[in-house]
Amino acid sequence: MTKQFRVLYKVTIIILAILAAMLIGSIILMTIGADVFKTYRVILFEPLKTTLQLTEVLIRAIPLTIIALGISVAYRSGIINIGAEGQMAMGILGTTAVALAFPELPKPILLPMAILAGAMAGGVWGFIPGILRAKLQVSELLSTVMLNYIAAQIYTFMLRGPFLDPAELTMGSGTPQSMRLSRGIWLDRFLKGTRLHTGIFFALFLALLIYLLLWKTNYGYKMRAAGASARAARYGGISVTWYLVIAMVISGAFAGMAGAIEIAGVHRRAIEGITGGYGFSGIVVALFGGLHPAGIIPASFFFGLLIVGADMTQRMVGVPANMVNVLQGVIILVIVATKMILADPYLMERVWRKYQGIGKKHVEVEA
């Protein structure tokens, strides 16, 4: 089997998978009576037409990238983190607490402190399922999901209680949100007329960091070994349980940072519903990106596109934005199926035989 064939084979499978996903999506769209082509066109191309829309896509891609990076660290280390949603919420609370407590501090001090607080709060929320799994063999699927609920309640409580904007009280409107945070934590919006903020560079920096951590350091080596074969890792003197905990802390800290960046860059205050499913989409992005930073960056752009596109379909073709969730579900299923197909060497062998048959005929014709 030639190398070109392998690459061609994989690319073809992926293209077919995308087409399959779109086909299934169009059936669903047809059932709600939508104009399929127009919907796809709006989702996939409309957001790219203006700079403003494009920056909105990038803004969505920032937290997705950061969360997916963290999730890939956990996955690679053999633990599945479904708790990014809760970890992100906790991160927002941590950042908000610091910003509210020290509004007078200058930016070079306050901003790192606030992001660090977000990372720590998210890290703690990742540490809990990590240590439960390491010491008591509690399934992380269970604990992370449960901690999501707890985090959501704590978040609501804080926004309606201690963090509630005093102005809301005096005005009496009672919108559950914090007061506008000090300018000291605002990330700069560097493109006039858009909301695109410097968080994008931070996200790219984190992607580089994760790449270096996982593939260039001995810590990453050990984490990947623990994830790839826990038994061999243990044999090799690697404390698998310890690295599980570390991986969960990193994963949680990244989700927490995503939350910190989101409020520092976009909202500049804690609002209800900020997390908005980023924590779950992050899982899909991580898998879609092949659990590798180089894949996660384009994958999060693609999912950012879907989110913005969904808003636009609602406005332009009357297809509800929830449809994007349906499409996401379809994409997850197709990814899982594609992975299984790509991992089947016998299928590849059979296709190779057919391909050779075609190639031979082709040569004969040319001759």
Binding site: N218, Y221, R224, A225, R231, A232, Y235, G237, S239
Partner: protein, 512 residues
């Protein structure tokens, strides 16, 4: 799927050729086997035996050539086709689901017991009993696979294949994991079975080829270099044909070393996976520069002993003194750093990380040492150089050092593990079944390496079921039975007979 029940009176593979990138795995191979015959397919690792059998089973398609059964050409597009024609193969790696029972495993492939809403386990059970009776293969249908020793698992594979209606058996190194006793039993069993069906078996072990087969075909580099009737040739002739040169496994002929005790195990108690005591007050002392062979039928506590010494299994009570330090219940990392080397039983899943590259696997235990790591950053150049050096020194046959270690052959994986463990310069080495399933060339190489490090003053605990291996290499032989050391013999007192009796649990061989 309706299975034909016709007997296979003749099977012929003609001019089979199969190419892989850069390798001619099968080069115009022709072989034939008739009813009731046992054909031994012999050759070194990488000679193309398994590829040829995979072609016969429909896992691979030949590039050229054809297969004939009873004179009719057949095309197997998948193992199911081969299976429907009555061929059954027992692979070297057992294809069993560990957390299911024997009965459930066999039921998995037993389509006749399946109906849309019901699985007729009773029917499968009856079939197992029938097969067990017919061929004398005893298995406990309700045991979980993970509870069984490797030998027992193999028996399950055999029963499974037969239950599913195989009338032609292909066995890929059937004895590589068996104890001497089990091997003898298997040979008798297969001899009896050959009156009912034909068998092709792949083997490296010339003695059993001699004992069992009627015909022999030797492959080297994908081509048939010899075929003939077994009884006309001696094992040494066959060995020479197989490797292309005369092979003598090295012997430990040096005088007993005068080392000091370095590993001293006192009253060790360790539990097995199933919760009972696998080691009961075990005592054993090993000195520097000596090889102590631990003989015993598998499942008598060997695995638990190796794991306990290496910190991979909890020690209930007792001491493991290693260079003056009690390492019982210390972490694997601590024990590795104390100088322990370990060649584990499960080379594919424990000894290497299969998805990691060859070079990555060679530094599994050393990622944080300055040699390969600079302030946590891996030194890629040093890692590459280490891998290139070890690849040459240990004759690891792989296209490059970035290939996934799991894709290498068993012998080469074992060389990777050996290379890593020896190049780390351990103070002591525990080698568990180091040559299981390896060809003569690789076995010779590994034994030479073990003797070499013994000469350097390293103590070795050699756990093996192969009495020849133990007798060839050991300075002293300890026999383990039901979690205790029956007796420790000097090399001069150890022979197949005395060890066999001790392994069977008789304490004082004078009484027999």
């Amino acid at each position: 799927m309706e299975l034909t029940q016709k007997k296979i009176t003749n099977l012929r593979m003609e001019h089979i050729t199969k190419r892989f990138p850069g390798v001619l795995a099968s080069d115009d191979i022709t072989l034939e086997i008739s009813e009731g015959q046992i054909l031994a397919l012999v050759g070194e690792n990488g000679a193309g035996k398994t590829t040829l059998m995979n072609i016969l089973m429909g896992l691979y398609q030949p590039d050229e050539g054809r297969i004939l059964i009873n004179g009719e050409e057949v095309h197997f597009r998948s193992p199911n086709d081969a299976f429907a024609a009555g061929l059954g193969m027992v692979h070297q790696q057992y294809m069993l689901v560990a957390n299911m029972t024997v009965l459930e495993n066999i039921a998995l492939g037993f389509k006749a017991a399946w109906s849309p809403y019901k699985l007729d386990l009773g029917m499968v059970r009856d079939r197992i009993t029938e097969i067990a009776k017919k061929y004398g293969l005893v298995v406990d249908p309700d045991a979980y696979i993970w509870q069984l020793s490797v030998g027992e698992q193999q028996r399950v594979e055999l029963v499974k294949t037969l239950c599913l209606g195989a009338r032609f058996l292909i066995l890929d190194e059937p004895t590589s994991a068996l104890t001497p006793q089990e091997t003898d039993e298997l040979i008798v069993l297969l001899k009896n079975m050959s009156s009912e069906l034909s068998i092709i078996f792949i083997s490296h072990k010339l003695q059993e080829v001699k004992d069992l087969s009627d015909k022999i075909t030797i492959l080297r580099h994908g081509a048939v270099v010899f075929e003939g009737n077994t009884h006309e040739h001696s094992p040494s002739d066959i060995a020479a044909l197989m490797t292309g040169h005369e092979v003598d496994l090295p012997l430990n002929e040096e005088p007993a070393p005068e080392g000091v005790p370095v590993l001293d195990i006192k009253n060790l108690n360790v539990k097995s996976d199933r919760g009972f005591l696998a080691l009961k007050d075990l005592n054993l002392t090993i000195s520097s520069g000596e090889i102590v062979g631990l003989a015993g039928v598998s499942g008598n506590g060997q695995r638990e002993l190796a794991e306990a010494i290496n910190g991979l299994r909890k020690v209930e009570s007792g001491e493991i003194q290693f260079y003056g330090e009690n390492i019982a219940n210390k972490s694997p990392h601590h024990i590795i750093e104390a100088g322990m080397g370990y060649i584990p039983e499960e080379r594919n899943t424990e000894g290497i990380v299969p998805s990691f590259s060859l070079k990555e696997n060679l530094i599994l235990k050393d990622t944080e040492h300055d040699e390969f790591s600079n302030h946590a950053f891996l030194k890629n150049k040093a890692i590459d150089k280490n891998a290139e050096d070890l690849r040459v020194k240990f004759d690891i046959r792989s296209p490059n050092i970035s290939i996934a270690a799991g894709s290498l052959s068993g012998g080469n994986i074992q060389k990777v593990i050996l290379a890593r463990e020896i190049s780390r310069r351990p103070k002591f080495l525990i080698a568990v079944y180091p040559i299981r399933g390896l060809d003569l060339g690789a076995a010779e190489f590994i034994h030479k390496q073990l003797l070499e490090i013994r000469r350097e003053g390293i103590g070795i605990l050699l756990i093996s079921e192969e009495l020849d291996e133990i007798l060839d290499l050991s300075d002293r032989v300890a026999v383990i039975f039901k979690g205790q050391i029956q007796k420790v013999l000097d090399r001069k007192d150890a022979n197949r007979r005395s060890l066999g009796i001790l392994m069977a649990g008789v304490k004082d061989d004078q009484t027999v």
